[in-house]
């Protein structure tokens, strides 16, 4: 009966219930859409970072490699790399192990000479996509080719960023002379045919890529300085890291996220932003529910007095009013979730949310999952109960004789 009375009282003032619920519904729905948008955006960002070169796991000879050795490999060459590569490949969750080496070199173009940071990957394990819709899995895919093609077999080729190509005044099919300084001070130089020009991010514009097989033309390194490991699923990262660390205690094994500083910063910023929005929504809900319940108690003072007169205890009155606020929260949360999902279907039906990044236009499709919905609704549910407590307490403590005089 106590729940029945609470529910009937909610339905009693429909306009007020709708307005109160509306605040919760809009809050939950917008939070759900926003969370999902950020989640999808970060998923794309994460996949991009993994694909562009970090893979799911990076393996190097030691910890210092990640701060000092990315383009100065001499002190970080991995011994027994072939057997290590084979053993890592035998792990059931590993779909690809890509050896690589990075170094700096001078590139002499028609007009200028610049320093390039060169990464060498096996030619069959690096693939630049030609447009943003081409997906590449389990291979290094640093960016999009805007001119030319990927590496062809058995040729000394180079793929450079568009800014580097512009500075050097070089086009696809032309020869670029690359010169590197070996650890002893000797020079090593070779001609490479520019087979492709890619659209790079700001920092990527001074990068260039050559086939791993051609590294000997520029550096003296028989083995790679790092391995990039791709897994069948990102969820396997932590387990595989553990296995690899146990198998190769002498090597440094790192998950992608420990090396993706920018991703971590952006993710942190978005998380903080979401927390602020959630906090605002929670505050609004608390005040709306507090206000609604205060009005509801004030309007029913006499009724509460009657219930007390016929034997209802303070505890029971408190429970009844608390249940009322909680039911309001359940209603608002449920409709908010349903509305959030419907809104996401509508947004997706209209083509998603337009988003521009690095000169490309994307349409992010919203796909909120149930855990997002629960995360958005639980605080609302909790604070709707919390917002009810002051009014419920006040209502239960009223003097019976005074309430009956109203």
């Amino acid at each position: 009966m106590i729940i029945k009375i609470a529910v009937k009282n909610i339905m009693r003032n429909k306009r007020r219930t709708i307005l109160t619920s509306l605040a919760m519904i809009l809050g939950i729905a917008s939070l759900l859409i926003f969370t999902s948008f950020i989640s999808e955006q970060m998923k794309g960002f994460r996949e991009g970072i993994i694909r562009e070169g970090l893979g799911h796991i990076q393996i190097a000879s030691n910890e210092s490699f990640f701060s000092k050795g990315k383009f100065d490999p001499s002190a970080f060459i991995i011994d027994n790399s072939d057997s290590i590569e084979l053993k890592i490949k035998s792990n059931q969750d590993v779909i690809n192990v890509i050896p690589s080496i990075g170094f700096s070199a001078m590139a002499a173009g028609k007009n200028k000479t610049i320093t390039l940071l060169i990464k060498a990957y096996p030619r069959d394990k690096i693939h630049f996509s030609k447009d943003q819709n081409e997906t590449v899995n389990g291979q290094i895919s640093p960016s999009f080719l805007i001119h030319g093609n990927n590496f062809s077999p058995e040729t000394d080729e180079i793929i450079i960023g568009d800014l580097a190509a512009k500075i050097l005044g070089i086009k696809c099919g032309e020869i670029l002379t690359i010169m590197s300084i070996l650890p002893g001070g000797a020079l090593k130089a070779s001609d490479f045919t520019v087979c492709g020009i890619y659209k790079g991010s700001e920092s990527g514009k001074i990068y260039a890529y050559i086939p791993y097989e051609s590294r000997g033309k520029l550096i003296d390194a028989e083995s790679p300085s790092s391995f990039t490991v791709f897994l069948s699923s990102e969820n396997q990262t932590d387990n595989t890291i553990l296995t690899l660390k146990n198998s190769y205690p002498e090597l440094s094994v790192k998950p992608w996220h420990e090396l993706a500083d920018f991703y971590t910063q952006v993710n942190g910023m978005y998380s903080a932003f979401l927390k602020v929005i959630s906090a605002i929504m929670i505050l609004v809900t608390v005040f709306v529910v507090m206000n609604t319940m205060s009005m509801s108690v004030f309007e029913r003072i006499r009724e509460i007095g009657t219930m007390r007169a016929v034997g209802t205890s303070r505890k029971r009155i408190f429970s009844m009013l608390s249940i009322e606020g909680f039911c309001l929260g359940i209603f608002g949360s449920f409709v908010g979730i349903v509305f959030g999902f419907l809104l996401s279907f509508a947004i997706n039906a209209l083509g998603g949310i337009p988003f521009s990044y690095d000169g490309f236009d994307y349409h992010i499709l919203i796909s909120p999952d149930f855990s997002d919905a629960i995360k958005a609704a639980l605080p609302v549910l909790f604070v709707s109960l919390l917002g009810t407590l002051p009014a419920a307490y006040k209502g239960s403590r009223l003097s019976v004789a005074e309430t009956l005089r109203y």
Binding site: K8, R302, R308, S313, A401
Partner: protein, 224 residues
């Protein structure tokens, strides 16, 4: 044994910084099964005295004993239980719970008693029938006339089998004919239950149904 014993009871209300006496040194005893009527002009202290007898308020001084129990010694929880088991209230404005139907209003105080669901339903049906509202059992209070609402309030007050019925101006919001019908109903049900009944009223009709009239004036018993 007295059903109600009031000893040297005073009640003061504080209005701002001023203390206003509502009852002054009241002494009263009511025997089991008696029907008494508190009469007096507005502000004479009738409702205040009823509130004290109904354990809805506590005296500033003195003691109120109901069925031998000093109500000042009871905790809020015990008082709620005491009101539920011992007292039945009939209010001037009916005071029904608007979101509950006629049968649910009558059932409500029974929910706080240790009786089975079937016994509860039987009790509700018995009293709806007794007040002649069986065809209206599923209606909400706002779908009933004033007289019908007061009948529901009477059924609610009696369904818990209280030993004392407290009725504050039960006919004040009713026309003469309906008021008389309501009083006939309370009187006949009192005969069946044997409960003590205390009325507070201005209405001379009510006084016709009682053997003992206590007149109050300025918070004091002027005549009994």
């Amino acid at each position: 044994m007295n059903s109600i014993l009031i000893e040297n009871v005073s009640k003061n209300y504080t209005l701002g910084k001023v203390e206003v006496p509502a009852l002054k040194n009241i002494n009263l005893s009511v025997k089991h099964g008696e029907i008494i009527c508190l009469m007096g002009p507005s502000g004479s202290g009738k409702s205040t005295l009823l509130n004290l007898i109904g354990a809805l308020d506590s005296p500033s001084n003195g003691e109120v004993h109901i069925n031998g129990e000093n109500i000042a010694s009871l905790t809020d929880r015990a008082l709620s239980k005491f009101r539920n088991r011992t007292l039945g209230f009939i209010f001037q404005s009916f005071n029904l719970i608007p979101v509950l139907s006629v049968s649910e209003n009558i059932e409500y105080p029974l929910l706080m008693q240790d009786i089975s669901s079937s016994e509860r339903k039987n009790r509700v049906n018995e009293y709806i029938d007794a007040v002649g509202l069986t065809p209206y059992s599923n209606r909400n209070p706002d779908e009933l006339s004033g007289g019908q609402r007061q009948r529901v309030a009477i059924a609610r007050a009696l369904a818990t089998h209280p030993s004392i019925i407290i009725a504050d101006e039960p006919t004040a919001n009713l026309d003469h004919k309906t008021g008389k019908e309501v009083m006939d109903l309370i009187s006949s049900m009192n005969k069946k239950s044997g409960a003590t009944v205390i009325f507070a009223t201005h209405d001379p009709i009510v006084s016709n149904y009682t053997k003992k009239i206590i007149r109050l004036k300025d918070g004091e018993i002027s005549e009994s």
